[in-house]
Amino acid sequence: MPSKMTASAPAASPWLKLATLWGVLFLHVPLALIILYAFSSEDKSYVFPPPGLTTAWFAVAWERHDVWEAIKLSGQVALVATAIAIVLGTLAAGGLARTKFFGREAISLMLILPIALPGVVSGIALRSAFHTLEIPFSFWTIVIGHATFCVVVVYNNAVARLRRISPSLLEASMDLGANAFQTFRYVLLPQLGSALLAGGLLAFALSFDEVIVTTFTAGQQTTLPIWMLQELIRPRQRPVTNVVAVFIIALTFIPIVAAYWLTRSDEDSHQR
């Protein structure tokens, strides 16, 4: 990609630098504070500055059954939803990445809709569909909702990667005697692999963290975000909530960074 900006960066005014710094701090200080609070010895743990530091609350959180149940449900939903999203997202990417046909734009718009429309709308749409078809809330109602908006995450990664794979690679494989399935297995899949993994990691993180659509499709079930939401409205043990929050930060931080690292060469002008 030709460089659009001058090669050497012009010097920024000190005001601009300050504004940028404040912007970035604004984004990150709250998270840093949460991590601090997880170690606070104060029961009403939002007291600042924390009177003392301790790791005792981690042990308390470990014992909480409801937390573990919520984590288990969130994990299972995320795994299944991610698996579905990878299959559908890759198929869609294969069909749309390098093709031109009537209706192509409409299809890619439809894939984006679940994320583009407010969560409330997607949530209540699914809820009304389940209600109309008299489908009771279950593990699968949650999964269906999650899979639907996770598809676009995998799709974007797969498309970006597919556009970078030269079509002559696939032709060469077939030229050398491999049929369509063998070409997919030996040439296309290895090339796509890390992009699908990245998409899957992002989808997992997205599903694990999702709360808005989930509250509409979960009924009485409690995923980890729903547990968190209940704690926010009716706090039981604040310090335990802090610990869980730190756990969530760590759990979602890792897939995001890993996904970024896997696809860093796929992004165009963002990083260059």
């Binding site: 030269s166 002559s168 690679l169 032709e171 060469a172 494989s173 077939m174 030229d175 050398l176 005697g177 491999a178 049929n179 369509a180 063998q182 030996y186 040439v187 290895p190 090339q191």
Partner: protein, 342 residues
């Protein structure tokens, strides 16, 4: 002797928006076994589409294609006994050079020890014995090209297709590869079908050349015949520099409405028995010869190539010259070109 590859009234037509594009227009061709055959033409002339149709990456909308007698017109690439060296080499980036070369054997189920042995043999043939464990990304352009060649040859195809394989190489390397490819083809004895837009390349390497223009095949001939006896004006212009004259001018000079004279067959001389005369408009130095552009009152300008070894000093721009040539130097052009240019 049966053809190695034969195209029978093959066309490839597709729609681009509102227009109908005839990428290949009613082409018939017979390529002999063991021959080095080149498809030559400018970009967009249909030569690459023809090659792709032989390889199976494009399908003909009309006509049929046969390889060693077997009709392959609608067969997928992996069922055709041809292999291709692609323009961008298309080496699999996630496999080592050895794995790349052994790929077709792996697909066929040959066991690992066998196929690695064969692959190493091929790497010796293309003179890259130490590259086996490297990845394509670590190789230079010329090296990648040789790996692509080894990969295509390992399964001993009857026909090898080469899609402008030397285009990305710099001049010296390209000339070296031309010699190597020609020698390799001689040694292996298999049919090579080579696509290029570079007429020098085509003339120096081929047994026969097929010249394409706007989807049509204008002439198939050996390099010598192509150069000395072009069938159409397009071929005359495309292969080497040419003086193409027509109309009244041509009739007066040679008694035929459309003629061609190669610049190197024109000599400078005195006014008696001169065929024509004019003023030197431009002089270009090409090392082995001077190319004069001579403006004439009686017709279009002529190019004359004067060897520098002649010892004569070359006329300066603006001086008057008289041009001579043998009757045998005049070639009459028989046919009109595709999409007959006015």
């Amino acid at each position: 002797m049966a053809s190695a590859v034969s195209l029978h009234h093959v066309s490839c037509v597709f729609e681009s928006g509102a227009q109908v594009v005839r990428a290949v227009d009613d082409v018939s061709l017979d390529i002999r076994p063991g021959e080095f055959f080149t498809l030559l033409g400018p970009s967009g002339s249909g030569k690459t589409t023809c090659l792709r149709m032989i390889g199976g990456f494009a399908l003909p909308t009309e006509g049929s294609i046969a390889i060693h007698g077997e009709d392959v017109s609608h067969k997928p690439p992996y069922l055709r006994p041809v292999n291709t060296v692609f323009q961008d080499y298309a080496l699999f980036p996630h496999m080592t050079v050895l794995e790349n070369v052994a790929y077709s054997l792996m697909i066929r189920g040959v066991d690992r020890a066998q196929r690695e042995k064969r692959a190493r043999e091929l790497l010796e043939v293309v003179r890259l014995p130490d590259a086996a464990q490297r990845k394509p990304g670590q190789l230079s352009g010329g090296q990648r090209q040789r790996v692509a060649l080894a990969r295509a040859l390992i399964s001993e195809p009857k026909v090898l297709l080469l899609d402008e394989p030397l285009g990305a190489l710099d001049l010296k390397l390209r000339e070296q590869m031309q010699t190597e490819l020609k020698a390799l083809q001689r040694k292996l004895g298999i049919t090579f079908i080579f696509v290029t837009h570079d007429q020098h390349e085509a003339l120096s390497m081929s047994d026969r050349i097929g010249v394409f223009n706007r989807g049509r095949l204008e002439q198939v001939a050996s390099p010598v015949d192509l150069y000395n006896r072009p069938a159409t004006r397009f071929v005359a212009d495309f292969v080497g520099a040419a003086n193409v004259l027509d109309g009244e001018d041509a009739r007066r000079l040679a008694g035929h409405p459309s003629i061609m004279i190669r610049p190197e067959l024109i000599r400078l001389g005195g006014p008696e028995a001169a065929r024509t005369h004019g003023l030197v408009e431009d002089v270009q130095y090409f090392g082995a010869f001077w190319r004069l552009r001579v403006r004439r009152n009686e017709g279009s300008a002529l190019l004359a190539d004067i060897p520098t070894t002649d010892g004569n000093s070359v006329p300066a721009a603006g001086s008057a010259v008289h041009l001579h040539w043998d009757p045998a130097a005049v070639h009459c052009i028989a046919a009109a070109s595709a999409g007959a240019r006015p």
